[in-house]
Symmetry: C2
Subunit: 343 residues, 2 copies
């Protein structure tokens, strides 16, 4: 079959019925000017030919595509997938569809994704930034085009948009304070690149907890882990092999937990006897790890729901707002064996 035959248009229906295109179009729209029999005839032929209305024509009429674009760094982690589930929950209830794209932590991919979504006439964009992103023109462009924008988790404070974040500062502060209270005083931090908003907040939480207990904050114990897994493993191994080994590690990102546990076990170290750990994780599997992992839990589903509510509110108010809001949701500390009190 020729590819050009695949899209059935109003013209095909008109030809088949020897009616004008305008009559068919009005019949499909249920216009009062068209007789009932004609409408039924047109709809019958439309169904038989598998006619689907052109979404652009529809959205020009309705001025909305009913599509929300979502860009996340990677869907293959619990934070992203739970957030997306929350976004879809609200969107579905309000009659919107969600298109999901991944930036794979690359600025160029993120920019391409934004451009593609914009060219697909999405009604609004929800985004969590890539590791690499340090230039925000693609987002200011979106705002200039008057497309509603909501940022979540990894946000950029200089951009005028609603933001949904969790209390990353207190998440890290509470986790590190817990390790200190369990008897660990030489605590390293493994975290993501510094340009990410979440990294800055979690780093500040770590530093403030250490300072509160008069513990030294050593630069060599703050590791900004690279994206590459092998490089991440090397940096963790290096700190654990040093003469001056920390007695605990606070892991500031979900994907680093398993890397950290792998390196510790490969080196034959015991958790928590040789090295205690606690980390951000939304994985429900943490209580079943060996040992069970103490973790900072974020209300991810709720983050997604809030982001969807905000974007739909913007869309339905034609992107007018009196002021941009930042909604901050609380984290919770789930204490398990990986941070058992030091003997």
């Amino acid at each position: 079959m020729d590819n050009s035959q695949r899209i059935v248009t109003i013209k095909d229906i008109a030809q088949e019925l020897k009616l004008s295109v305008s009559t068919v179009s009005r019949a499909l729209r249920d216009s009062a000017e068209i007789k009932l029999e004609t409408k039924m005839l047109v709809k019958e032929v439309a169904a038989r030919l598998h006619y689907t209305p052109n979404p652009i024509a529809l959205s020009l009429k309705e001025k909305r595509s009913k599509i929300i674009g979502v860009i996340v760094p990677e869907i293959a982690n619990n934070f992203s997938s739970n957030t997306i589930a929350g976004i879809e929950d609200i969107a579905y209830k309000k009659g919107y569809h969600v298109l999901i794209f991944q930036s794979h932590e690359k600025y160029e991919r993120e920019k391409e994704n934004v451009q593609l979504l914009v060219s697909r006439r999405i009604d609004g964009l929800i985004i969590s930034l890539a590791n690499e992103t340090q230039c925000y023109d693609h987002l200011t462009d979106t705002i200039d085009k008057n497309i509603p924008l909501v940022m979540f988790d990894r946000v950029c404070h200089s951009i005028n948009a609603h933001k949904v974040i969790t209390n990353d500062y207190f998440g890290a502060y509470n986790g590190v304070e817990h390790l200190i209270q369990q008897g660990y005083h030489n605590i390293a931090l493994i975290t993501l690149p510094l340009n990410l908003s979440i990294t800055q907040n979690r780093l500040n939480g770590y530093k403030d907890a250490m300072k509160k207990y008069n513990l030294p904050v050593r630069d060599e114990w703050i590791i900004h882990s690279p994206i590459d897994v092998v490089c991440s493993e090397m940096t963790i191994r290096r700190i654990l092999e040093s003469d001056n080994r920390p007695d605990a590690i606070f892991i500031s990102a979900e994907r680093l937990n398993i890397i950290c546990i792998k390196v510790i076990k490969e080196m034959g170290l015991r958790i928590p006897e040789d090295i205690a750990i606690a980390g951000f994780s939304d994985n429900p599997i943490t209580p079943y790890l060996a040992p069970a992992l103490t973790s900072v839990k974020q209300p991810t589903f709720n983050v997604g729901q809030k982001a969807a509510e905000l974007i739909i509110e913007l869309i339905e108010n034609n992107n007018t707002t009196t002021q941009y809001r930042t909604i901050q949701l609380d984290t919770a500390l789930d204490i398990q064996a990986s941070s058992r009190r030091r003997q």
Copy 2:
């Protein structure tokens, strides 16, 4: 700003430059009929006004949207997210974009997703079926519209399409045979609804392994777990509380592993002393569970790559093919402590 102003069209550029729409259109297309200066002027204004070409107009010209639609039951599991990563890997290299939708295991959502993707003029559809799906009209409709279709993992054999699957039969057979060889003879199977292709194949693998060793296959030990987590927990608990408790469970789906481990631990049973387990899982965390989980690993990234290669081949050959293929990739058994030899 009024919402109607948000889309800049060729007409806006024409008005601004006091040129005809046709001149602007030809200038943007680099037509030889238009003077270089005019072209430069038009492109300058197009850039300043943030003009983006209408994707439908473009795809009517190119006859392709360069978009591949992907529908999975849930992205929040390793099978789906790794497969999507594989699809994106190939698609990106070949200049295609990937739109990801979730059916949430519901037939109605899946059908809606298909209709929406078709109305967005995707070039091709890659799908893994929802738990609930037992009617395939939405897929035959897609085929009737001459939109290339590739199915993966949960496929429907009666549909004429390329399929990419893993060797589910041998995955289950090998896993169950391993449990038998470790000294477990009363093995229950926890699996998904029977209408899914993967369930049938894995169930056959389980039955054949049991028969090979002359072990009885008991109907009450074959559990088709419901989607709901609480119901799943109840069915597992029921079998473990029965007088006639199995000594091992083969878990035939990733999402059931954690549910199973949770119930076993809540009941105070030890793995593998009281009950051995092995299951399908693509989660890299399995070696770090307590105890480490013996698992059937599927080449998920590769499944995604193959599915993308097949759909792009179909798209670029205008959906003509001499015969539909089913590509079957091998699984591997990762032996860990959860199936340690019975003492």
